[in-house]
């Protein structure tokens, strides 16, 4: 151990090179990079599934795929995007940026960090490989509701194991983040001086530790119901199918915040930089994040208003859900107040962050509308909900990820990303995103259920529009690939402080950040 540390301190690159370097690396920057490459590959795979879905839905009738395969696609699109793309991408950001932001030399558990990453590719192979087993991939929806999931073929078992493995990876990643943030901050960096990204990730990490085991329990019960004669979710054996939903959503709702809180953190780093003004209401941002996290454990059954809960249950979950609008509103107000009377410029990261606030907030409003139990009875399981969660998950989490990527690419690569291509990527994305998902609100209100391969004729026009938008959106993401490749290979040299208004320890180290940083902890005043 001591010898390894000594070599690392010298800044040498000892040990293996090539593939073995990446397999055995314990460096938080290498691991962060691998997380992000992995999540981008998964993002493209999930995107291909989405485009196949949209191709089928381009017009009424069955043209491209059959219903069985269509259901597999919707299911796998959800699983791949949630567990393969969005979550690992945020863990990648955490790996790269948290040590740099708090002045730590690396993550607390460097070897465990390697393991948490390298669990993911086998899980992805299991998940995507399940398309090729007899019966195909699971087609029970990403929520894997019993008893439908109990009916599935062996693709379901592969998905369960993949979820187990990804869950272990997430828990280890989360423990690593908690320990790093709590123990490895530079002298003088108190918790309330920490960059907001670290705060949101600290809280997210606790959410992950709390709920990933719940998901593991839920899918394990499905597994034993499927193969070992248990009846957790089978009424004939004394079980209850609705219990699965309670357990799943006890995981599932905090999961929603797991995917959005780090996004809030990224945006809270970017807005002050380009407004050249400190973040408004830092303390209230921290409290709002914590309140959202705590409330997230008390709202799960708003996904289940149509299961037939008693009135008291519906009312409780309706009120609790509405309450989440308060801290979320505080965040939006704080961002706007940060921009107010700033001295703003709109480089690519700021464009994405501003776009995030604008479009994410629309998803927030539809969330509030869905929270009203009687309205939710109408829109539950329709395209309205599809529109809602893509507004918060694509225009929310994904846009924030792009904002963060453009913001920190200079630090990662040492080169400034192309402003022209970055802006093109932004404008294409936001326009096509809205063409794709805005009409879905109308579809859902007018009565189009989600997860159907074919639909009644009055929905044809908006579906055609959404499909056109989806292909535009999908192709636009290739621009990002070009930006990153160009940025890695060359371009304008980035200064240590790559953006004029950027504050924080990560901008005190050179760009690209050397392999080892903060061997001597900086002192924060």
């Amino acid at each position: 151990m001591a010898a390894v540390t000594h070599d690392q301190l010298q800044g040498h690159q000892p040990g293996p090179t090539g593939l073995m370097r990446w397999l055995t690396t314990t460096n938080h920057k290498d691991i962060g990079t691998m997380y992000m490459i992995f999540s981008f590959i998964m993002f493209l795979s999930g995107g291909v599934m989405a485009l196949t879905i949209r191709a089928e839905l381009f017009q009424p009738g069955l043209q491209v795929v059959q219903p069985e395969f269509f259901n597999q696609l919707t299911t796998m699109h959800g699983l791949v995007m949630v567990f393969g793309a969005i979550m690992p991408a945020f863990v990648g950001f955490a790996n790269w940026m948290i040590p740099l932001m708090i002045g730590a030399s690396d993550m607390a558990f460097a070897r465990m960090n390697n393991w948490s990453f390298w669990l993911l590719p086998p899980a992805a192979i299991l998940l995507i490989g399940s398309f090729f087993v007899p019966g195909g991939a699971t087609a029970a929806g990403w929520t894997l509701y019993a008893p439908l999931s109990v009916q599935m073929g062996m693709g379901m078992d592969l998905a369960i194991f993949a979820i187990h493995i990804m869950g272990i990876s997430s828990i280890m990643g989360a423990i690593n983040i908690v320990v790093t943030v709590l123990n490895m901050r530079a002298p003088g960096m108190t918790l309330m001086k920490m960059p907001l990204f670290c705060w949101t990730w600290l809280i997210t990490a606790y959410l992950l530790i709390a709920v990933m085991p719940v998901l593991a329990g839920a899918v394990t019960m499905i597994l034993t119901d499927r193969h070992f004669g248990t009846s957790f979710f089978n009424a004939a054996g004394g079980g209850d199918p609705v219990m699965y939903q309670h357990i799943f959503w006890f995981f599932g709702h905090p999961e929603v915040y797991i995917m959005i809180l780090p996004a809030f953190g990224i945006v809270s780093q970017i807005i002050p930089t380009f407004a050249r003004k400190p973040l408004f209401g830092y303390a209230s941002m921290v409290y709002a994040t914590a309140s959202i996290a705590i409330l997230s454990f008390a709202v799960w059954a708003h996904h289940m208003f149509a299961t037939g809960m008693p009135a008291a249950g519906q009312l409780f979950f309706m009120y609790a859900t509405m309450l989440i609008a308060v801290p979320t509103g505080v965040k939006v107000f704080n961002w706007v107040a940060t921009m107010w009377r700033g001295s703003m410029t709109f480089e690519t990261p700021m464009l994405w962050a501003t776009g995030f606030i604008f479009v994410f907030t629309m998803g927030g409003f539809t969330g509030l509308i869905c929270a009203i139990a009687p309205i939710d009875i109408q829109v539950q399981d329709t395209y309205y909900v599809v529109a809602h969660f893509h507004y918060v998950l694509v225009a929310g989490s994904l846009f924030a990820l792009f904002a963060g990527a453009y913001y920190w690419l200079p630090k990662w690569t040492g080169h400034m990303p192309s402003e022209f291509l970055g802006k093109l990527h932004f404008w294409c994305s936001i326009v096509f995103f809205n063409i794709t998902f805005f009409p879905m609100h109308f579809l859902g209100l007018a009565g189009m259920p989600r997860r159907i391969p074919d639909y009644a004729l009055q929905f044809a026009d908006f579906n055609a529009l959404a499909s056109v938008g989806a292909f535009g959106f999908g192709l636009s993401q290739l621009i990002f690939l070009v930006v990153v490749v160009k940025c890695v290979r060359g371009g304008e040299r980035a200064a240590a402080r790559s953006w004029e208004g950027a504050e924080g320890l990560e901008w005190t180290v050179p760009s690209p950040a050397p392999h080892h940083t903060f061997e001597q902890a900086p002192v924060v005043k």
Partner: protein
């Protein structure tokens, strides 16, 4: 609800959501035209929420875009240095809570009304099967009638071999028939996996859960044909198990009941 209704008219007038369009032709932009009291309350509440959200949206983003266009470095804006203001922060925490209370009040009343399935005129059990619905008239006029109801759209239409009909994918061989103006309680269960019985014009959506019975109710105020879908993913043909309800006058309903009874007796005798 009076204020909500006013909002509804106002929004229709500005063409915000276009409920007027939805009267007779199928809905395209907004919730389907309601034919029950509950669906009407839901529509009003949705319009009210939409208007409130729109006002807040314009307010917040008015401020943001003002800043975006005016507080730019290129326009010589110099950054201020404020970063907190307790009074403002308390205000924008408390005011949203008050707005939420205003939203929760009508919603609470509707939830309680939706849950009140007592004293029905007619009780029908709907059973979800992969992939059709079964109906049993359990109590009230027509007691004893039972039948299965499955998609009647021909396969050629789905596969593109024939032009698609007007009620494509929303038509069944044997529709549910109920009398107008009567409280119908629907008991729901399923035979295999979870399904969900949804008729948008009634404001009714209730999961059908295998091994359990849940209930919901509606009282349709207008005769007509109302169509819905299974709303819970239930396997391969989830998109192909529609619900079609015919709401008819009391006389027509009585006729339909006696015809069904006769047919069932004939079928029994034949066995």
């Amino acid at each position: 609800m009076e204020s909500a209704r006013r909002f509804a008219t106002a929004s229709a007038a500005v063409g915000l959501a276009g409920p007027a369009l939805a009267q007779d032709s199928p809905a395209r932009y907004n919730l389907q035209a309601p034919v029950t009291g509950i669906a009407e309350q839901i529509n009003d509440m949705h319009t009210l929420m939409l208007v409130i959200c729109l006002v807040i949206f314009i307010g917040v983003f008015g401020v943001m875009f003002w800043a975006v266009f005016h507080h730019r470095k290129s326009k010589g804006a110099v950054a201020a240095h404020f970063h907190e203001n307790t009074a403002v922060e308390i205000a924008w925490t408390v005011i949203p809570i008050l707005i939420l209370l205003g939203m929760a009040w009508p919603a609470t009343r509707t939830v309680i009304e939706m849950k009140d399935t007592s004293n029905p005129d007619l009780t029908i059990k709907a059973t979800g099967y992969q992939w059709k619905w079964g109906y049993d008239y359990l109590q009230g006029e027509g007691e004893g009638i039972r039948f299965l109801s499955s998609l009647s759209t021909p396969r050629e239409q789905i596969e593109g071999g024939a032009p698609k009909g007007e009620a494509y994918l929303l038509e069944v061989d044997k529709p549910l028939v109920v009398p107008v103006g009567k409280k119908v309680r629907v008991l729901l269960t399923a035979n295999d996996v979870i399904h969900s019985w949804w008729v948008p014009a009634f404001g009714v959506k209730q999961d059908a859960i295998p091994g359990f019975i849940r209930d919901t109710w509606f009282r349709a105020d207008k005769e007509g044909i109302y169509r819905g879908n299974c709303a819970e993913l239930c396997g391969r043909d989830h998109g192909f198990m529609p619900i079609e309800v015919h709401v008819v006058s009391a006389e027509k309903y009585a006729e339909w009941v006696s015809a069904q009874m006769q047919a069932q007796n004939v079928a029994l005798a034949a066995q």
